[in-house]
């Protein structure tokens, strides 16, 4: 039994190296267009990971996640175009802005459960989008959005200005986020989140501050979405409200559901599906949504736990990245 596990473990480690290797050499082999496709895969991976904290780890239905994404993107866009602050310095600023927004908006609604919370978050996402369209204080540029956003830099000679550099920028951030999130998953915080998802009352009765940890999940999730917004804004050099529609939130929701709630490798698979799918089916653009819907239905019927559900207690893909490996007794 033990040997079987070890062999399995070893092969997964090998697989991980192969995947990382492929990601590193990929942009040197293909055209800029295909580099950008995988860049957007990275953006969706980051967004999927951020929603996974709220939806996957804590089980809170958040269908307004694009709102946090928008706050991050617009924070970067406005501060960069109006004040000329370098994009990479705005990275933490966008994260903090989105996190703070989540804290303020979610504080009064955090006690809501299930579908009630879901409805309120839909409303929140829509309010953000409509507010951006209405051009408050002449900051957001209304339906046209904000354009003329710089390339990412710290203000010095280091500037990210080619597809290949963007590609590495986003994937380095994704990898760092994954490492951070795995550590969180393995900490008392990750366990507290999962306990709340499993049984809120029992979590409270076991000494977990349910309200605090729910809010914490929203704040961290929003902050990570804000980071994605920052990179996205500078990549497109423009942001407009239509990029942050309800549909975008639905896509993120699908990433988590397809991949498997709380499973980091699952989220990557889900993000790959959502971002690469339209490219693969470009010739059949008309039937894209039809096929997409069909896939979702089949998924829910045959693999309701997601493509790669999180396994507990045994060997896990993600356990490779964490230093503290579970003792396999």
């Amino acid at each position: 039994m033990e040997r079987v596990k070890k062999g399995f473990f070893g092969s997964q480690q090998g697989l991980l190296f192969v995947i990382v290797g492929l990601f590193v050499i990929y942009p040197f082999l293909v055209s800029n267009y295909y580099i950008d496709v995988v860049f957007f895969f990275g953006i969706y991976a980051l967004l999927g990971l951020s929603l996974n904290i709220v939806l996957g780890e804590v089980g809170l239905f958040d269908l307004g996640h694009a709102g946090f994404y928008a706050i991050g993107a617009y924070t970067t866009a406005i501060l960069n175009t109006k004040l000329g602050i370098p994009i990479l310095l705005l990275l933490p600023v966008s994260a903090i802005a989105a996190g703070l927004f989540a804290y303020i908006v979610c504080s009064p609604i955090i006690h809501l459960r299930g579908d009630y919370l879901c409805i309120v978050t839909i409303g929140m996402g829509e309010i953000v989008r409509l507010a951006l369209i209405n051009n408050p204080f002449d900051l957001t540029g209304g339906p046209n959005g904000v354009y003329g956003i710089d390339f990412p830099s710290f203000g010095g000679p280091f500037v990210v200005d080619s597809s290949i550099e963007y590609y590495f920028l986003i994937w380095v951030i994704v990898v760092l986020s994954i490492i951070g999130l795995i550590r969180l998953q393995r900490s008392r915080i990750g366990r507290a989140w999962n306990c709340i998802r499993e049984d809120e009352v029992a979590a409270g009765a076991s000494g977990i501050d349910v309200r605090y940890y729910k809010l914490l999940a929203f704040v961290i999730g929003a902050a990570l979405a804000g980071v994605a917004g920052n990179i996205y804004a500078s990549k497109l050099m423009a942001v407009s409200p239509e990029s942050f529609s309800f549909w975008e939130s639905c896509m993120l929701f699908c990433i988590v559901l397809i991949g498997g709630m709380g499973s980091i490798p699952g989220i990557l698979i889900g993000a790959a599906f959502i971002s690469l799918f339209p490219e693969i089916f470009r010739p059949f653009a008309m039937y894209r949504m039809l096929i997409f819907g069909l896939v979702m239905i089949l998924m829910m019927m045959f693999r309701p736990g997601g493509v790669w559900p999180r396994k507990r207690g045994g060997a896990e893909f993600v356990s490779l990245l964490s230093r503290k490996r579970k003792k396999d007794a």
Partner: protein, 266 residues
């Protein structure tokens, strides 16, 4: 367990004064007074709907009482949130087992240690040495608790997959992992067979002897109540109608009438 005796321990662990809880027009608990002393097993019995579980829920912070207060180790804890009450030293189990179903047995117990640890977001993300040390401690304590209830073979099994009797013990282990001074058990023997109940009784007796604990119990199984209780209180329609040692309760005509019924033999 590594809990130092930090506070001055008065002989009274828990007191309730005039506890009243009203749901709509129904007074579920009416002016309930009780005093539980350190090291005793205090049982709360009564017919279904007498308000026993409501008393538990008020004591553990799940409900806020309309009147009265709960004094735990000399401090008024009335109306505090459940997690604060757990940190102050009261741990509970539920009548219908509430485990974290899709987490492993060990993780369930580790959840109990949550309130005794303090690593925050940053120290967890950057895995500071203080956080690692704390995680190791949580692991050690949880491992010792899982051994104590004899479930180490289910260590990495999901909680929902283990047998019912083991789930009960796991829930008790989770409560113990919070390092409580008062353990509140809501019908721990329900759904257990005679053999399992016997094991449970032995376990609880041993617990009282070995650890610095007091137990408050709701129980329907009279063998358990009479077998292990130091004191028994009887509730009916939200009121306490009798209190005393098991023998006194067993022979109290009011109790027999209210709880056992006039005709029926227990």
């Amino acid at each position: 367990m590594p809990k130092g005796d930090l506070h001055i321990t008065p002989t009274t662990v828990l007191e309730t004064h005039g506890l009243t809880k009203i749901f709509g027009g129904l007074t579920a608990v009416n002016n309930f007074d009780a005093t539980i002393n350190k090291g005793e097993i205090f049982s709360l019995i009564g017919p279904n709907g007498a308000g026993k579980t409501t008393v538990f829920n008020v004591v553990t912070g799940i409900y806020k009482p309309e009147a009265g207060n709960v004094i735990f180790q000399g401090k008024d804890i009335t109306g505090r949130k459940p997690h604060q009450i757990v940190s102050s030293g009261i741990a509970r189990t539920f009548q219908n087992i509430r485990l974290f179903q899709n987490m492993t047995c060990l993780e369930n117990i580790m959840a109990g240690q949550h309130c005794r640890a303090k690593a925050g977001v940053w120290s967890s993300i950057f895995s500071f040495s203080s956080q690692k040390k704390e995680e190791r401690r949580i692991h050690e304590i949880s491992e010792s608790r899982i051994e104590q209830v004899g479930l180490e073979r289910f260590r990495d099994e999901l909680a929902k997959n283990i047998p019912y009797g083991s789930q009960r013990m796991l829930e008790i282990a989770r409560a113990l992992a919070t390092e409580p001074a008062l353990l509140v058990l809501d019908e721990p023997s329900s759904g257990l067979n005679a053999g399992e109940t016997e094991v449970l009784m032995e376990f609880l007796k041993e617990l009282i002897e070995k650890e610095n604990l007091t137990i408050l119990l709701i129980e329907h199984d009279m063998n358990v109540v009479m077998g292990i209780s130091d004191k028994v209180a009887v509730m009916d329609e939200g009121k306490k109608i009798a209190e005393g040692n098991p023998d006194e309760i067993y022979n109290n005509p009011r109790v027999i009438e209210a709880y056992l019924g006039t005709e029926e033999e227990a």
